[in-house]
Amino acid sequence: MTDYKEKNWKIEEDADGIVWLHLDKADSKTNVLSADVLAEFETLLDAFSNQPPRGLIILSDKDSGFIAGADVKEFTAFSTEQEAREAIERGHRIMNRLESLSCPTVAMLTGFTLGGGLELALACKYRVADNDPATRIGLPEVKLGIHPGFGGTVRCLERTGVLNGMDLMLSGRSISARAAQKMRLIDYAVPRRHLREAARACVQNPPKQKSLPVWNNLLNYKKVRPLLAKVFIKKVAARANRAHYPAPYALIDLWVQHYGDRDTMLHAEAASVAHLITGKTAQNLVRVFMLQEQLKGLGRLPDYVPRHVHVIGAGVMGGDIAAWCALQGFTVTIQDTQPEALGRVIQRAYSLYKKRLKQKRPITATLDRLMPDLDGDGLVKADVVIEAIFEDAEVKRQLFRDIEPRLKPETLIATNTSSIPLEDLANALNNPERLVGLHFFNPVAMMPLIEIVHGKQTSETTQNRASAFARKINRLPLPVTSSPGFLVNRVLMPYLMEAVVLAEEGVPLSVIDKAATDFGMPMGPIELADTVGLDICLKVAEILSRYMDIEVPGILQDKVSRKNLGKKSGAGFYTFAKGKAVKPEPDKQYTPATDLQDRLIMRMLNEVVACQRDQVVENGDLADAGIIFGTGFAPFRGGPVHYIKERGPEQLEKLLNNLMHNHGDRFKPDAGWSTLIKQTP
C-alpha cells in the first residue's frame, strides 16, 4: 500500500492496485472544487493517464459529503466574460481527461453531491452512492443563475435521458441516492456498509452500462427537440420570468441547438455559462447565496445544545412552530388550555409530516416528539420556551410571571410577538436578560427567516443562543432591534397598504399584482395580503400606524368587518377556488398609470432607508438578507439596499419627491436618503 498526499488530495493504493483518491479540502469542512483543488486534480490526472492504475476510485474524507459544488466565492472574481470562460474551459479539460482515462473510474458518493461535484462524478465511468437519507444528489446551478458548466449538461442528459435530466437541471432540486439510481444517474445505491465493496466491484467486475429506453432517442431527435422545448419553456415560465432569470432558458436552448454533437455542445455550454455567470442575475443570486451563508454564520455556537422546546399558545403560529421544531428533531411540548386547539395542532402537524416525511415510521417518531400539554408539564425541562399567545402585553406579562419560577435558570425565554416592544414584556421577569424575540413568519414551514429580536435588556448570550437555536431548526437568524414592526413587517406594510390604496382607487387587482411580479416579487401584494389574511394585515397595520406614518385604508377595515379575510375565508380582495385566487382579466381598454410599479416599490424602499437610519439591523447586507428571505423580495435584484445602490439613491429620492407631489406625503423621502446620497461616490 503506497500513500501520497497533496494539499487537498490523498492517494491510497490498495493491494489490488486500485487507487483510492480521497478529496479532503484543506481548511474547510466541505469539499468544493476551488481553483487549487482542480489544479492538483489535473496534475494527478496527468500522472494517471501516463501510468493508469488498475482502477481509480474517487471519494471524500468529509462528513458533509462528496463535493458540494464549485467554489461560489470564485464566481464573483471574474472581471470579464473571457476570464470566466477560461476558467470554465479548464474545468472542461479536466473532466474530459478524467472521462478518457483508460482504467475503470468510480465516484463514491456520500452526503452532498451537488453541482460541480456531480459533474465530476458523471465524468467517471461508474457512480456508487450511500443510500442514507443524508445523500443528496443534484445540479442546483440554476438557483445561482447559471447552469451546469463542467460538461454536466451533456453528461447528465446522456445518463438519465432528456426528461429526467432537464427536470433535474431546470428545477435545481436534489434527489436521494435511490431516486438517482432509478433514473440511471448512478449505478448502485447501497448501504454505507457496502459502499467500498460496491466501488471495488465496479473496478473488478465492471457492470454493463445501463442503456436508456428507445423513446429517449426519439425525444432527442432534431425535429422533436424544438417541440419538446416548448413544453419545458412553458413549465419554466410559470416559475421564472425570462428577463429576470435567463439561465433555464439558456439551458433549454443549448439542448435544442446542439444535442447530439457532443464537442460543440460542450463548447457552447462553456460559452453560455461564462456569459451567464458574469451577468447581473447570477452575480446577484450569488450575492443572495453569500448573504444566506452570512446569516447561517450568525448561528454558530457549537456548545449550545438545546433539546426540548416548549411552545405556549396553540394558535396557527404556535402550533406550526411546535410542529416545525419537532420535525427538526426537537422534543416539543405545546401548551394550551383548549384541547380542541391542541387537536388542530396535531392535525396540521400530521399533514406537514405526511408531506415531508412520507413514510409511516418517521411520521410516527416525529408525532411522538410533539406532545400536547394541557397542564404545562413541559415547562420544567424545556431548554427553549416560545410564547405565541395573542397580542396583549398584560396577558403576556402575567404569563411570564407565572412560568418563570418553573423554568430552569438557563432556559431561553422567547416571544413570537410581532408588535409589542420587548422591553414592555421584560419587566415582568426576574431575569429579563434571557428574554428574546423569535419572530417567525407564516407559514412557518415555508418561510426560511426568523427575526431574532433583542431588546435593550437582552443579553448577548441570549441573542447568540437564539440565533443558534434558529439554525438548529434549519432557519436563518436575522438579528433586529425591538422597534415596531422589526424589519420585515415594517418594510412590507407600506407596500401592502399602497397596493390597497391602489385597489381603492379602482386599479384592477390583477394589474396591481402584475406590476409587482413584473418587478420580480414572487407574489403580488394583493394576493399576498389575501394569503396572509386581511385580519392579520389590518392588525399589524393598526399597530404599526401608531408608530409610523401609515394610513390604514378604509377598504381593509370594511373587508375584515364583513369577514372577508382572504384565502382562509374563501374571499378577500380576490375570491378563492380550491385555495387559488381567481383573477379576473382586466378590461383590454385599461392602461395602467406609468408610476404604478414605482408607487409600490418606492414605498418599500423608502421604509428600508428608514430602517437603516434607525439601525434596525446592523448593516445593509443584513437588511437585504432579511427582506429577501422574509418577503421574497426579487432575489435576482440582490436585495433592496443593493438595488438602491445600483439605481442611485439620488435618482430614487427624486422619484420619491415626484410621487409625493402627485400622491401625497406618504412618499416623503426619509431623512436617511441624504446620508445615502452623501455616501455614494
Binding site: 384541547p339 380542541e340 387537536g343 396535531i346 417518531a365 400536547p372 408539564d377 425541562k381
Partner: protein, 444 residues
Amino acid sequence: MAETRAKKKTTRRTSASRRPVYIVDGSRTPQLKARNKPGPFSSADLAVGCGRPLLARQPFEPSDLDEVIIGCVMPGPDEANIARVIALRLGCGNKVPAWTVQRNCASGMQSLDSAAKDISMGRADLVLAGGVEAMSHAPVLLNEDMVTWLGAWMSARTWPQRLKTLGQLRPGHLKPIIALLRGLTDPVVGLSMGQTAENLAWHFGISRTDMDAYAMRSHQRLAAAQDKGYLSEIEPLFDTRGNVYQQDDGVRRDSSMEQLAKLRPVFDKPFGNVTAGNSAQITDGAALLLLASEAAIKKYDLKVMGQIKDSEWAGLDPAYMGLGPVHAITPLLQRHKLKLNDVDYWEINEAFAAQVLACLKAWEDRDYCRDELGLKSPLGKLDQSRLNVDGGGVSIGHPVGTSGARITLHLLHVLERNNAKTGIASLCIGGGQGGALLIERTTG
C-alpha cells in the same frame, strides 16, 4: 386437601429482606369503544398517549428508568415485544430494557407485580409498568387451508403449475379467523368467556334482572364520576384528524332496565342471560404506573401515592374462571389478617355483571367457602358501596391487557379521595385464574 393448601399459603413469605414498593404516579387513556372497525390508535399509540405526559411531569428523565414492563394480550403485527416499542417511542433511549407480560385479562396487573418483584428484590429502583390493549385492532387471520394454499402458490414456478394451483382455491379458504373471538374462548374447556359467566349465574342463581341492575348501576356510577371530575388520571388522546378524546366513551347515561331487558343473549342463544349490556365492553385503552423503591423516592424527591403491600395469584376450574378474585383475595386477606370489612375500597374487574355478583355470592355461600376455599364459615358480605365506586368494565370497558393497571391506579385515587387507607384490586382471568393486589395509600 383444600384446607391444607390454603393454610400453607397464608404462612408463606415472611422474609424481612423485602424492600417496600411504592406507586408514585400513573395515568391512563380514555377508553374508546370498538365500533366495528379498527379505532384511531394502535396499542403502542395508546401507551405513548398516556405515557408521554406521565413522564413529562416527572423530575427525572425517561432514560433514568430501570425498565419498562407492559402487559398486553394481543399486540399488533408491528408490535412484537410491545413494551420495547413503547419504551423507545417514549424516549427512554436505547439503554432502558423492556419486556412484555401476558396473563390474559390480568396482564396489566402482572406487569405491576413483576415490577414490584424486581423492586422488592433490589433488581430495580424505578419501573414504568402497566397495560395496553387495542381490542379493535385485533387481527383477522387466514385459516390453515388458506395458508397451505398460499404456500403452494408461492412455490408454483411455471404457468401450468400456477393455473393448477389456482384451480384448487375454494371459497372455504377465504373464511377468516377472528382472533378476538378465539382469544376470548377458553382453548382447553372450549367455552367462551361469556359461557363461563353463564355457568356462574346458573350455579349461584343470579337472575337476568340482577345482572341488568348491576350493569345499570355501573353506568350510573361512571356517569356520576365523570360529572364530578373523579377520573383525573385520564390523559386526553389526540388523533391525526384533529379529534380529541377526553372521556371513556362507552358510558350509557340513558341506560335503563327496560332497554337492558330488550337485549338478546350473546353467548348462550336463545336461553342465556349474559348480554352485551351486562358484559364488559370491548374497548381500546392503556394505563401506566410508575413504581419506585425507597432509594428512588429519595433520589428524585418523588411524591408517593401508595404502596403495593402484597399480591396473590390463584388457579381454578377454567369453566368457572369468573370466581378467580375469590380464590386470589381470600388467602391475601388471611395472610394479612383482614376481614372483608377491613378493606376500605375494592376494585374487582367487571368482566361480566354475573361474574362480580357470583364472587360476592361465593363469599356468602357456606358450601363454596368450605369446599373450595377451605373455610370453616363463610367470609361474609362485601359492602357494595365500597366496590367499583366509579363504574367498571361494564361501563368503562375492559381492554384485556389494560384493566389490571387501570383498576389499581383508580383504586389509589378512590382511597385518596376518601382519605382511606386499604384497598384491594382484583381480576378474574380467562383460563381459570385470579389475581389480586393489596394496596395501601401513603398518608401525610
